[in-house]
């Protein structure tokens, strides 16, 4: 039996296109201090630090964890860097939780960040490699064909992605930390925004952001020292699959299905749509909401779009999705996964402010990365497991 673990502190920065008011050090420190403040703990209370971010080329700084160690109170303590591409913020939290669940540490500070303005992630993702042709750049060019595949396979109405984008962008207006805010956003504005990688429009796309997120995780004996309501970790799961193999289904990847099945089994969930109150999932392009609804087992295959269409995923729906405004509204890549996990924790702690889902008692946080080949997720709840 693993030790129980709970989130006792949550912190994040204001996410923005260019946080040139702070260095990378200042950025991570801002999130970490807020998490400690939220937990009412000091640096001396932390036993270990686990940090995550996406590829080093995104800032052009090799192994930034080395120079960030002292700013994060890591000197003299175990410090660990995690990397699993875009899912890294999620897997960093999972690794941190496992250190508590294994009984190794009482309190772990975990931090994830990206400062995209310091380099160019699009460039980093489209360097010329000798064994393939470089004709698409960045994530949009990679994922657009998969979205087209989903549309063909499911027969989803063509405006599904627009509806997701409007919903997430309206949710972002309620989140003081969100990067992109379009106060007048509506269906026509999204529909008329420029097509970038057909079928992905500009307003259906995530931004490039600077930002960080931090969590304080505590073992059961240490939970009481923090006054807020703990978000108990009910289950975590991670899965990966090879980038390239014949017959690989990138629209509905096996690794995601396996991770979800493992997660629900560990949490004792048999009907996720009924038993989970809200979900914050990794949707960098609007169409990934219906795709992941199916992959996560919230909807039968080919029917995820109906949840969007029927308003089930709206803030007042039966399964609110991306209450914070999601990756579409803030995308400091390395932190994006942890922000999903953090939003799930905020919801069950009752600390989500204007985007709080009434009566949220159990929430799912989800992240994916690479060419849809890394998945990490957790379920947190109000009840001690």
């Amino acid at each position: 039996m693993a030790e129980r673990c709970a989130v006792v502190g949550v912190g994040q920065t204001k996410h923005d296109a260019r946080r040139i008011d702070v260095s990378q050090v200042g950025l991570v420190r801002e999130a970490a201090e807020r998490a400690l403040e939220n937990a009412e703990l000091g640096w001396q209370d932390i036993d270990a630090v686990v940090i995550g971010k996406a590829p080093d080329l995104f800032e052009g700084v090799m192994m930034p964890e080395l120079f960030l160690a002292d700013a994060l109170g890591g000197a003299g303590k175990p410090m660990l860097r995690v990397h699993t591409a875009g899912s890294v913020g999620g897997s960093t939290a999972v690794v941190a939780a496992s250190l508590v669940q294994a009984g190794v540490h009482q309190r772990v500070l975990t931090v994830a960040y990206e400062k995209q303005s310091e380099s160019n992630a699009m460039w980093a993702l489209s360097i010329k490699i000798p064994f393939s042709q470089t004709i698409v750049a960045g994530a949009g060019g990679y994922f657009a064909p998969l979205i087209r595949g989903y549309m063909r396979r499911s027969g989803a109405p063509e405006d599904t992605g627009i509806r997701v984008a409007v919903k997430d962008r309206l949710n972002a207006l309620k989140n003081p930390y969100a990067h992109l805010k379009f106060p007048d956003v509506d269906f026509d504005q999204v529909a008329n925004s420029p097509m970038l990688w057909d079928p992905i429009r500009f307003l259906e796309t995530c931004p490039s952001s600077d930002g960080a997120c931090a969590l304080v995780l505590a073992a059961e004996d240490a939970v009481g020292a923090s006054p807020g309501k703990p978000a108990w970790v009910h289950a975590t799961s991670m899965r990966s699959e090879p980038t390239m193999f014949s017959g690989r289904d990138q629209v509905n990847p096996q690794a995601g299905k396996d991770a979800a099945a493992d997660l629900y089994k560990k949490a004792g969930i048999t009907n996720p749509r009924e038993e989970i109150d809200c979900a914050e999932i990794y949707v960098p392009f609007s169409w990934f909401e219906p795709m992941w609804m199916e992959n996560l087992g919230f909807a039968p295959e080919g029917e995820g779009w109906k949840m969007t269409y029927e308003g089930a995923t709206a803030l007042d729906g039966d399964l609110p999705v991306n209450m914070s405004g999601g990756v579409l509204s803030s995308n400091p890549i390395g932190a994006s996964g942890m922000l999903r996990f953090a939003e799930a924790a905020l919801q069950v702690r009752g600390e989500a402010g204007e985007h709080q889902v009434d009566g949220a008692r159990r929430a799912l946080g989800h992240a994916y990365g690479g060419g849809s080949q890394y998945f990490s997720m957790w379920i947190v709840g109000e009840a001690r497991p």
Binding site: F131, S132, V136, A137, R148, M195, Q250
Partner: protein
Amino acid sequence: MSEEQKTVKAIDGPTRLEYRYSPGRASTRFLRGMEQKKILGQKCVGCGRVYVPPRGACARCGLPTEEEVEVQDTGTIVTFTIVRVPSQNIEIELPYCAASILLDGADIPFTALLRDVPVETVRLGMRVQGVWKPDAELGPSFDNIDHFTALDEPDVPFEKFQEHL
């Protein structure tokens, strides 16, 4: 001067990246084939699926791909995107079609440029053929197929290729 003006906000520090790739045995066979306008794949000893370009192993079965198989330069578009936004590293006139193409005889698609076809007319299941560079420009490179273009053939039904999305 105000405090705000005194703060140094950013300093440029350019980084250059050069990538030297050792192709290994399977890719060497493929690249030598490309020099002669031959597309060489490899068949998995377990599932019999043909990988192009070959990597020497099938990640589906965890088994080697030993038998060499020549595949055609004709194929089918399994999915695609129309790129309408410029990128720093890519100098192709906009808009253009990046297509995921399953070559005839292969069991895994790859992404390639489709040209000489109005982008509005690109469809899933469309038949295409590779257009090779002039013989004098051939080298051990994937880029020997300069681009793909449409064939005047009926579309392939979705069911035939949908597992390759």
